[in-house]
């Protein structure tokens, strides 16, 4: 087609990309050891990093629904919950007696597919009654959906005990991977890898897989259809896009990302309970997407890292800071931490309304180059005038 790319430039870009990716790969590979080396509490930092990776998956999933298809979802954490409980129920001894043997503790990849599929089904369940809703109305319904899922998990211990209610499900075993139990330290090349390290690499790998799927989706025909629907549903329909199915697909795809993240979360924690899946969590994931840059994959990843890591950093920084400045504890560190965090988010949104790393589209939309437009309009007018004479 018409898009001609200078091949030398292309190769140079390619080389640069490869270099950047190489550096990132090395950094990520040694990160657990670096954290252990530089910080006394290296493992708690690594734990925060593991969670940040889970949040990246969640944020990328929500990005499909909110960023691409433009459907505001305030109950997204429900799919994380569905994935987590699916893993918990199929792997912990809690329901072992009633689950058919072939389905109990399935192979890792099968388990991930099941989690993605079950969450995807719930995505369609949420999507189908809300197809005609948009914006704030959709937000209210999805908010309700998120709460319904949580309340169900809280109360499905009676009359038949399925979810074990508010106590949650424990004794969830770690993932078995190619004959290895990720719950126990593994010796490799003379180095002992603990559970938290093993999970870091597992979650990292899944995270890369999800980033890859996200990128492919964005550039695909279906990705363009999502953007078209967000821009103008009637015109999209007239182009032959089945808006109903394409929207449901957005809900299902987004939900399945959440399901995978949830399953990893359950096996990493070894324990799930309804209180991990509150409205606040949904809002945090939405904040990651919006703050990072809706619709832009690198932006969303950045948003997820910042929103999930900053509170952890503040946790370590605030008490020494208070001691140094005032000499004693004035404010409860937990409150102060959230206060600073909230303020930081407000400042970022004021300074960069399109997010920290927005897509070029979003930037153009929020900062219209009025000068260029009027220039063009002027050109058009002159052009028309010339042709008209």
């Amino acid at each position: 087609m018409t898009s001609t790319i200078n091949s030398a430039e292309f190769r140079a870009n390619n080389l640069k990309t490869t270099l950047v990716l190489g550096v990132i790969a090395v950094v990520l590979a040694i990160l657990p050891w670096a954290l252990g080396h530089f910080f006394e509490s290296g493992n708690s930092w690594l734990r925060a990093v593991d969670f940040a990776l889970l949040y990246i998956m969640l944020a990328l999933g929500l990005n499909i629904v909110v960023g691409y298809a433009g459907l505001l979802d305030l109950g997204y954490i429900a799919f994380y919950a569905v994935g987590a409980y699916t893993f918990a129920l199929l792997n912990s001894p809690h329901l072992q007696a009633v689950i058919p043997e072939w389905l109990f503790q399935p192979n890792f990849f099968v388990m991930m597919l099941i989690a993605a599929f079950v969450a995807g089904v719930f995505g369609v369940l949420l999507g189908s009654p809300t197809l005609k809703l948009r914006g704030d109305y959709l937000a209210i319904v999805t908010l309700g959906f998120g709460e319904i899922i949580r309340i169900f998990m809280n109360n499905l211990d009676r009359p038949i005990n399925i979810t074990n209610g508010p106590q949650g499900i424990n004794n969830i075993p770690a993932v078995q991977f190619a004959g290895y139990d990720l719950g126990r330290p593994i010796e490799f090349l003379g180095v002992s890898f603990e559970k938290i390290h093993l999970y870091y690499y597992l979650i990292l790998a899944m995270c890369f897989f999800i980033i890859f799927v996200s990128m492919r989706l964005q550039r695909s025909r279906i990705g363009r259809a999502w953007v078209a629907i967000r821009e103008d549903e009637i015109a999209a329909n007239a182009m032959g896009i089945n808006t109903r199915n394409v929207k449901l697909l957005a809900f299902a795809m987004g939900a399945s990302f959440g399901g995978v993240a949830g399953a990893l979360f359950a096996s990493f924690q070894g324990f799930v309970s309804p209180e991990s899946f509150t409205l606040m969590e949904s809002i945090m994931v939405l904040a990651m997407v919006v703050l990072g840059g809706m619709g832009n994959i690198p932006g969303v990843i950045l948003g997820a890292v910042i929103v999930s890591i900053t509170p952890e950093i503040l946790r370590d920084v605030i008490n020494p800071l208070q001691q140094a400045l005032v000499g004693r504890k004035v404010v409860d560190p937990e409150n102060l931490r959230m206060l600073i965090f909230g303020l930081a988010m407000i400042v970022i949104m004021l300074v960069r309304p399109a997010g920290l790393w927005p897509s070029k589209q979003r930037r153009a939309e929020l900062a219209p180059k009025t000068k260029t437009i009027s220039q063009q309009e002027n050109d058009s007018l002159q052009d028309a005038e010339r042709n008209h004479d």
Partner: protein
Amino acid sequence: MTASANTLLEVKDLKVAYGGIHAVKGINLEVKEGELVALIGANGAGKTTTLKTLMGMVKPAGGEILFKNQSTAKIEAHDYVRHGLVMVPEGRGIFGRLTVEENLLMGAYWRDDKAQIANDLERVYQLFPRVKERYKQLAGTLSGGEQQMVAMGRALMSRPKLLLLDEPSMGLAPIIVQKIFEIIRMVAAEGVTMLLVEQNAKLALQTANRGYVMESGKVTFSDDAAALLSNEKVQQAYLGE
């Protein structure tokens, strides 16, 4: 009005009602292959409702719509394009956050003949060199006239058998409107059959082969465009003379 072999669209006694209000009260019209037909009338005459019903976005309360001698009643809205019924919506319906070229390619969303799509894209660029100049730009940053060109180009990418234009002049400066009608003539010269719904009666009739005049949900006049232009009553009511 009898359906001849080359009748593309035939509307028989079409009635549309919103709640209890009858917006379209039994109209007949037809479009033959190769024709450019104008549907004119004042605000609220039922033109846009008629068009929306033709595109399956509103369900008729009565009557029949035949496209290529087949009823369109069972076709889903998103399948119209596969049958060759394509609309350029009011306000152009451009996808502002896609580039110009991506917009054009959306027109070919339903097609999978890649080579032909590339050919059609070239054809559209030849027709609108201005659009080609801006192919990488986000469509939302174009001027109104340019957006209309993109909308028309996108519709052509769908390979329409019948192109429905909803108020193409709306919201544009008079000088741009002239330009838009030139584009419509260009597209007509390519052999595309069109039904043009327009408030600017004079320009529409000067451009079209035939015309229908709608007034409060009914067709009050239908004739050759030239005849309508010289019809005294039409002149008084719509042409401001």
